[in-house]
Symmetry: D2
Subunit: 476 residues, 4 copies
């Protein structure tokens, strides 16, 4: 599904009280790279000075030994970022760092504020000058304009004004702070390592550095870790009746399979989706294959429950670079084939179940089906381990507009025809919720249902996307 | 196994009679990238002039649209190259192109000549000046010093002097030539596409461009494709009794699973290895996992035959860059974990069979076992889908010296202890040959048996490696 | 003198009403490159959107055809910047561009505010967040916090708060604005070209694009050029009694010889300095040579008045790169010699007058004298075309601290001994003012006299330099 | 004159018996940079191994501290290279280094062999494979094919076959060798430094490192410096009657003014040319200006003899980058003006003598005259310090073809009209020889006279230039 381009996620990491803070942050970001490939940044502090470095590209490209050495101190936060092309600029890279009268603060953000435009307007009226188009900058301006006797007070009264999805890591000279919004849209977990406290979007970052997973932050929790390693949690007010809205799409597609988020093993969750999918949409087929790697777990689950053997039917090319020279017109769907090549010797003459995690625009799936048929598949039965995606996401997943979502106004049979598949089965909403409900009943599944936990002005969002930008830093 | 570093393979591609020759060569090399990540090069011809571009790095890094456009003409050959560090130089990149009195020729080579040092000495005595340390340059010098009325004659009388492993693609202004040495150590196949003839090391390159696989070249075959698309095959003399020696390690590890080489579907071959392995070395375990991606097929075969469920127990990080900042000492085996992270939720408390394709030095495998235990595995049963590697390879695979090969002078039980595994099972030589024999009985398996098809002077090879180099281009 | 490092100047350019606005700005910056080699930037506008590009390095390195093409519109401003190492960061590059509630403004600044720290503190108290350490950002924050019914009002009431040296170019969607502070420390001129209005720090930028020089802006003038090409000038209040303070060091050293600034031909001014110097400090010598290129004009003047022949006695190496590999200790003063090599055949056995524009630390001059003696000069008579530099400059020239200025607490005879020269003559203050007074009597010569037109807190400046920075973007 | 593009010179440096051999070579090349800006290379030896590094670009760009450190040993040779665009390739960079049976040799070449094509053909017939299009490679192939009991014999019998212009530095593990061809077309000098022997194309390289100039090599001299610092000179046979042919254009334009070559101080020589020019072509003018920097010395000589004051009438922009964004059509001769801007305040209303060293195609000179007129010059009197260039150079200076040389078939009056100058005076052949004859009577001035010392086949040279290349490495 990756080619269909669900972007605009981010990954967060934070650590305090460790002499190798920046190095461990680098490693943590490495593990979280899948959450944002566009830019990476780290800010560290030695308790007095703050050190910052950000750059465009992968973590391994942005940082080197020399840079890590310059990021001194025993606390650090880091950020990886995805974004839509338009604002793909170094100036929008995070963490954002400001040096204000009386304090310095660095902040990294994952999510999307639904009242960003309104907050920005209010702040600009007070004389705030914005240098970026990021929600993170809104939060630092809120902080700067907030009166308050303590930094703690200012944080709380600032965050109360933010609406929508926000997991945050913040750092001052003597505090490391983790935040999850009152709905808990995005994940954030707490770990412990070698006497240090660690925050990370996903637990796979803990595994890499060998840290122990302690717990996920609660929705609405603002966790302060001070210079003496004391922890204190304050809660942002919840709406009544309180409702959680953990993004179920993190479990379906985005998170790494070896992570634990929202209380679930991601891989187990996906296997169960596949298992349920096999019950809902059985197929008379010779083998089950996955669209690797995101469909692997669900395909295994499907195979196990259906009894149809699992095979490796597509080979992923690990060398896909940023730029790919387009072949001429006659050689279309190359771009798809160059990434995943069907294994003719496995597929030829067979009835194949293909399990994928989701369909967004449908164009890539269509080309996959075509490639499988060309490789000799007798029948291609598409199975999707989530319901049809029909609604845009205002909370941080950059789905295309409703018009571009293939399922927004088409029946499943029409989609099947478009794809050229012999059959097509989506997991039902009940199926998805059944799997999820066993353990947890508080997910946001608005992209399937349109049932939004936090209201937002879709027209405003659309306008904001369509509006010609006033200022165009075309590169820097 | 990749971290254990089997290097020094190469990938070849050639095409004639297509207006997009260089572009298709680029795509073909893309599919063959796994055969050589160090440098890439393409030479094309418009029938008069030859155009060349080579660079260090991946195909996607070396070439861009502008460069492809400058590689004019309707015929082209391409090359990707791996090598040991010492000679990792642009000057050694291929294809090699020479403009001689009367002709121009470009050549790409996969393999290793066993009489390279001797040939080079003879040529230098005749006044030949060598610019590189590659075997390919030896072949062009042979050509230059060969008398002969026709280019065809010169090719044949030159190649007759070469001993060892060599698959070649050659190109003059009006000929495209494919060569496999008389033992057929390395693969080379012929395909057809859109009226053009195509040569490639592996059939996966045909799949990518949509070409039709025709056949593999015979051992000893020298295939000429001329400007009128006429094909002619001459044969290099075979030793008597003729014996093939196709490198079985291509099937075990090196080739892409979606390729067909030496008459085998690579993936099916590996599944059968895994299946046989399950019979030879059963295990009382809860699940079977692979060391991805090279162990995947064998693990599936093992699971299927043993009935123990297959699971995804390690997650591969797709973002491994060239340089990786080392963590501090306390955090060892990071480098291993950053590439493949065990999925704790799958492994914890379980008895696990881990299937890998081979063990070279053993250090990486040891760290994998350790990581799995740390992730909570109750028992770790290593299963290797080939026999113990005991002997170096003079035919193009850069195994380390016997001293460094863990199996060269250790019993399996000692290796098991070194790895820290609960049990260890290698596929037997009989098992391997059984699987291979069903379809083909002419493999070289000298790395397991020490039975070398073409004799070579191990001391000379060792001296050549140990000898201080006279000339040190430290970069260019 | 260049090696002695007088830095922290900047160059400004602006143009409106021309379809090639960005391209002409690029060319204008090219001509102003000597005013700032560290970073370059251009902001353009099509009347609606603003387009910006900034980068580290020379104008020719930062921009290329593609970037110029993206800087659309018929108005543009540009900036080149020098700075001390510490803040040598892309984020400090100019012009600064902000997109505020109700307006967008870009600004480029040349000079140094003496009340920057105070203004910044006041603004931060109101919640302003600073992203850079530049004075320009202070001005945009002043604008953002200024109430006012019109943009014009806001500009005027903002600028009234700024103290010290500031020449500015500003641009909104429909205005191009040029500003000189009430003392006129830094130059700024108005020109006309092909129906367009042009602003530039020096007239050499007009010459390059073929624009006609109209006049210099008056001290205190704020010149508005609107969308209909109407010009309006408002005046910032002058102190009483009004006093101009044009930086005489621009004429002595900094400006390009082919520029006209402060009413003077720079080259003629320097020739007159040399001529006067010959009268004040004659020398019994065989020839006059210059420290090229900055001493050339004064040396010619000296030669003409003294009658001693002018010769080219040092050759400038045009290939000095950014980084220069240091020779070993035994080969000192290489760095000096590699830039300017004495011509032994001219100098050997001769009594030489060497004319330089100024001496800052003295170390480079000492090495020059040594090199001349080594090349065989019998006597070396240093002549300096300005008085001894004794005082730091708070208005934008980055002289070192008093302690490092060789003349701040040393007699001329002591300096002569330090340099190893046979005689040393500085132009007298009277001589300098005589030359200047003929045409203009309103210069700032505080670096020689300590008579500062605008008071400043030297301790505060020093503290600000010594203070450890709170935030350290070590690169970006 | 530089824009008119006389290219294809090279600079040589060599040193033996110094622990900092590579570093000093780097510095020497720095001083010789004007002889070749395209590529730079150094080969060093520790008596056993040879270390090599070459790259495209300026010396300061190609080398850094790390690379210099890797160039170990106490002997080194270096090379800077200019070339025509076509062969502007890293593979053609020098020194060339070969590792042959029995010996290793590195070689750097300055000049042009007139029998290169013939030698190459003969060598290719013997099986030699050429990797470059350089004359240097011909020399190493000659060496490789030469029988001979000693390396000394082989050198001598190889060089005897070379015809045309060649100054060479060669290095083996234990020898440093300097060579000047029997006509002495190109310079090469011997110096001494800190116990080491040094070779350099021009003495300015000695000045930079502080070496003592000993003497120039004799035409035909082959100077061997062995491992024990013993020197031995052998002579290549001279033709009878012996005739020297030192390139007078080195003195007129190419060499650095602070060098001594062919027994002359370059700067003094140029001053005398200017002086003689004033006598031959007086002008009723107000001032004399130079086209800087190459016309400076002659302009001074002209001013001194004519009594017309010397002024700095054009300012050279030191920031010209490799790429320059072209202004639009309306703004022509920008490219000329951006390099040298006339000083309007000096020139306006004046009758100006402009002294330049030479005219090649004439297009740049035409634009200079135009720019001076636009800057207000009342009259422009061009004076050229050499005779009209009418003939191509087969000995290493890349003049354009006769057709493109403006003087090849035009009268002086026609050239004057083309340039738009009020008068034009070239130095006469007699004048040039008079100046030269005073000290030396053995120059090659074939570019003015057509009197070639070594015959060559102009048609062959032309064909070789026109011939489509067979092999096109468009980059590497």
């Amino acid at each position: 599904m990756s080619e269909d381009g669900i972007k605009e996620y981010c990954g967060l990491f934070g650590i305090s009280h460790h002499p190798e803070a920046a190095r461990l942050t680098y490693l943590g970001l490495y593990a979280l790279q899948h959450r944002g490939e566009e830019s990476a940044g780290i800010v560290s502090t030695d308790g007095e000075i703050m050190f910052a470095y950000k750059g465009m590209g992968l973590v391994s490209e942005v940082f080197d030994e020399e840079k890590i050495k310059k990021l001194k101190g025993s606390a650090a936060i880091g950020h990886v970022r995805y974004s839509t092309t338009g604002s793909s600029l170094l100036r929008n890279a995070q963490p954002i760092l400001v040096d204000c009268a009386g304090y310095r603060v660095a902040i990294g953000h994952n999510g999307n504020l639904t009242n960003a435009a309104e907050l920005r307007r209010q702040l600009e009226e007070k004389g705030a000058l914005f240098q970026t188009t990021t929600d993170s900058e809104i939060i630092v301006h809120l902080l700067a304009h907030e009166a308050g006797t303590s930094f703690e007070d200012r944080i709380m009264s600032s965050l109360i004004k933010a609406k929508g999805a926000f997991s945050l890591v913040l750092m001052t000279q003597d505090l490391l702070i983790g935040v999850r919004d009152p709905y808990g849209f995005r994940p954030l977990a707490l770990g412990q390592f070698d006497g240090a406290y660690v925050l990370a979007s996903e637990s796979c970052a803990f595994d890499l550095i060998g840290a122990k997973f302690i717990r996920e932050l609660e929705p609405g929790e603002v966790l302060f870790i001070d210079g003496k390693k004391k922890m204190k949690s304050l809660m942002l007010p919840r709406l009544s009746p309180a409702r959680d809205a953990a993004c179920i799409f993190e479990l379906i597609y985005f998170a790494r399979p070896d992570s634990t988020i929202f209380g679930w093993s991601v891989q187990r969750f996906r296997e169960e989706l596949g298992s349920r999918l096999a019950k809902e949409h059985p197929a008379g087929a010779d083998l089950v294959i996955a669209v690797p790697d995101s469909g692997n777990s669900a395909a295994l689950g499907y195979s196990r429950t259906s009894g149809i053997p699992f095979e490796i039917g597509m080979i992923r090319n690990h060398y896909i670079g940023r730029t790919f020279i387009q072949p001429t017109q006659d050689l279309r769907d190359f771009k798809v084939r160059v990434k995943l090549n069907p294994v003719r010797q496995i597929i030829e003459g067979k009835r194949v179940v293909v399990v994928d995690d989701s369909i967004v625009r449908g164009t890539t799936s269509k080309m996959r089906v075509h490639a499988l048929k060309q490789a000799g598949a007798k029948e291609v039965h598409m199975r999707i381990s989530c319901p049809p995606i029909k609604f845009p996401c205002p909370y941080g997943i950059d789905f295309p507009t409703s018009e571009e979502l293939i399922a927004s106004n088409r029946k499943v049979e029409d989609i099947r025809k478009f794809l050229g598949a012999d059959s097509l089965g989506y997991l039902s909403m009940e199926g998805l919720l059944d799997v999820a409900k066993n353990h947890h009943d508080k997910f946001c599944s608005a992209c399937f249902s349109g049932d939004y936990a936090v209201s937002f002005d879709e027209n405003a969002m659309r306008r904001s996307k369509d509006k010609p930008r006033n200022v165009y830093y075309f590169e820097e």
